[in-house]
Symmetry: C2
Subunit: 437 residues, 2 copies
Amino acid sequence: MAPLKVGIAGLGTVGAEVVRLIEEQGRLLSARSGRGIRVVAVTARSKVKKRGVNLRGIEWAKSPLALATDPNVDCFVELMGGSGDPAFSAIEAALKAGKSVVTANKALIARHGIRLAKAAEKHGGTLNFEAAVAGGIPIIKTLREGLAGTTVNRVYGILNGTCNYILSRMEQEGLTFAECLKDAQRLGYAEANPSFDVDGHDTAQKLAILASLAFGTKVSQSAIYVEGISSIKPEDLRAAEELGYRVKLLGVAVRTAKGIEQRVHPTMVPKSSSIAQVMGVTNAVTIDGEGIPPITLVGPGAGGAATAASVIADIADIARGVHTTPFGRPVEKLRETKKAPMERHEGGYYIRLMARDVAGTAAKIATHLAKEKISLESIVQRHPDGIDPTGAGKSSPMPIILITYATHEDAVRRALAAVQHDKIINGKPQVIRIEKN
Amino acid sequence: MAPLKVGIAGLGTVGAEVVRLIEEQGRLLSARSGRGIRVVAVTARSKVKKRGVNLRGIEWAKSPLALATDPNVDCFVELMGGSGDPAFSAIEAALKAGKSVVTANKALIARHGIRLAKAAEKHGGTLNFEAAVAGGIPIIKTLREGLAGTTVNRVYGILNGTCNYILSRMEQEGLTFAECLKDAQRLGYAEANPSFDVDGHDTAQKLAILASLAFGTKVSQSAIYVEGISSIKPEDLRAAEELGYRVKLLGVAVRTAKGIEQRVHPTMVPKSSSIAQVMGVTNAVTIDGEGIPPITLVGPGAGGAATAASVIADIADIARGVHTTPFGRPVEKLRETKKAPMERHEGGYYIRLMARDVAGTAAKIATHLAKEKISLESIVQRHPDGIDPTGAGKSSPMPIILITYATHEDAVRRALAAVQHDKIINGKPQVIRIEKN
């Protein structure tokens, strides 16, 4: 069979690595996929930039769109990024021309995935995006193919290495969020404008894709509740540690009686869970299937080589003639996401309050919680720096840490609003949701 | 498209669950695979046994072979087990008749995998065996397809739930191997004759399959060094804990300069590694790819529902028309396994010796190790039950625990033979290999 002719748009770290791997591993790849794979054309913003790969004999296309519609290209690989053009138009044009497409672009798939999947189905092409979520972990393939016979009840994970790096260092070294963010930026783990990562939006885009594959619903970013990690304090991580938990930024999608609940927020997970062990920039995803114990995949979430390996696996699948619908079933069978409102979320909560005057405050807080039928699993009054509050420390605010049994989010919100209304605490209550395994 | 007609041989826990899942999840499955899936015929030893599934409208074949060659069957599913007949002949007959085959039979694939893969290739069928290794974890698909572009340097894991259950309980409760084995048998985790599990043979069969997929070599059980867990003592687990390790029965296949080293033995793994966190009957596999951080998959290694889910995923792939070579590349491209001899294994070692007379013994042991150029990372002389050996305890044997830096297996063997020859220790030295992540 003639080799699969690949065109690559975008020659950053990942794109250059893909070119290099296809050249170096040509024989391995053709043995594995039963068909040769050859890069015939590329394009990128700069033609002259040094990339450390040999582009001799490879055509330079004048634009992503020209590459996507080049009759000499069988498989269009989009590695430019960005949720709009030129990536979107180029991918759509390639699919409309009957080509297969591989992309690592989570933003684009989260935003336009359904429209592109329709185009792929209509014109008989394949749309693969393994590298879009948890870079080097084969989570898309696992959900799409490996669990074809499993009814998924929950999928959750650490999908952003930057946040996990920051939380791991805060926990291990007792540092503040700001200190760890600065280090992450210095090490290249975080952008100059870190909001997209630390505010949870990157995780939300990835979660939207996983939820669609897991539950057969249409990708919908707007169905996701999002909360970032910037409010997490070292004292929260210390308290978590003492209570047997770790704090992770999780993306969680779970089937409930009220619909599919999709949420991104700092989460307390039991220290013994697989996901709690995942430190640093590593990613992890856990899948709870009906009637079976959880499956967890752990591995690199980013990095040129890991991402490129996933792109190559997607290309090899196309070379082998594997044809799957992009979201695991035809678009017409994907249901609209019924969004479970966050106020109806049920679970345990960690609540940290700075009580102004301890003696009366604890009782008042307890009354407000009781009014909302919230039961407490534990309550810890923490003497800051070991000062005994019965003595000189009496006037300084004292942290009270509550762990609730499973309750409703709106009950927690109402109880804490009442506490704030009483003016018995300083600042805002800190609330972290607990996720049991 | 006409539905895929499935014939199932073997209606134990897994077989019955597969029938039930196909019936219950018919719509989900056809949405996911783009084609209906229907069980048209079954066979098992007893036709009258109660199985809790509805077999009405399903033909009862008079033998596995008759089912395998039934012209009405597109896909033959073998769930009888056993490395010989009737499973082997039935699968071969089905493949020769151009059918696709799904099996959960590790013993058969480890023994006859290459011959069956040849038959599949020759007659255009598919041979899928996701459930054969680590039951509910999609490790076959990950190695075969998800890492198509990755050069694997090492694959290792906890592949036997019985052994991990025993070691976990020994560690957590300070019990002996015999006590935990008895409990495992009572709970149904271990067979009446536990040798196949606890002596490492089950792990070896699974490792042989993983190694073939990872390195593109022919499955070869005889290339594997095998050692079980029955010699592990609670004091080894205690010492491991103190030194920052846990003991797991691992199957390890690693690319070395001398060939592919394949080994099954109790192994000390750093407590911080993903694999060390895996407790109880859970399985886990870690893959080290060239230039990328490790990927670890954790999940159920056995159990009817988890195994059945993997069988269903294999059937769904066949329904979708996914065609892969059984070992990830054509049989003619699989190399003969070049077995790296265990004597040339390089790594760190944990050694526990019962010294007869402490004063002179430590020095003599050190001399023997130095003669073999073995350097020590740590040495611990342990006073049993806190008795001070300078006092009354002097005559009772005292454990000496050594952790070596990386050295050669044959050097360790020679040094310990010399120590034994000196008659300065009681009994045999305990040796546990260390695997770094």
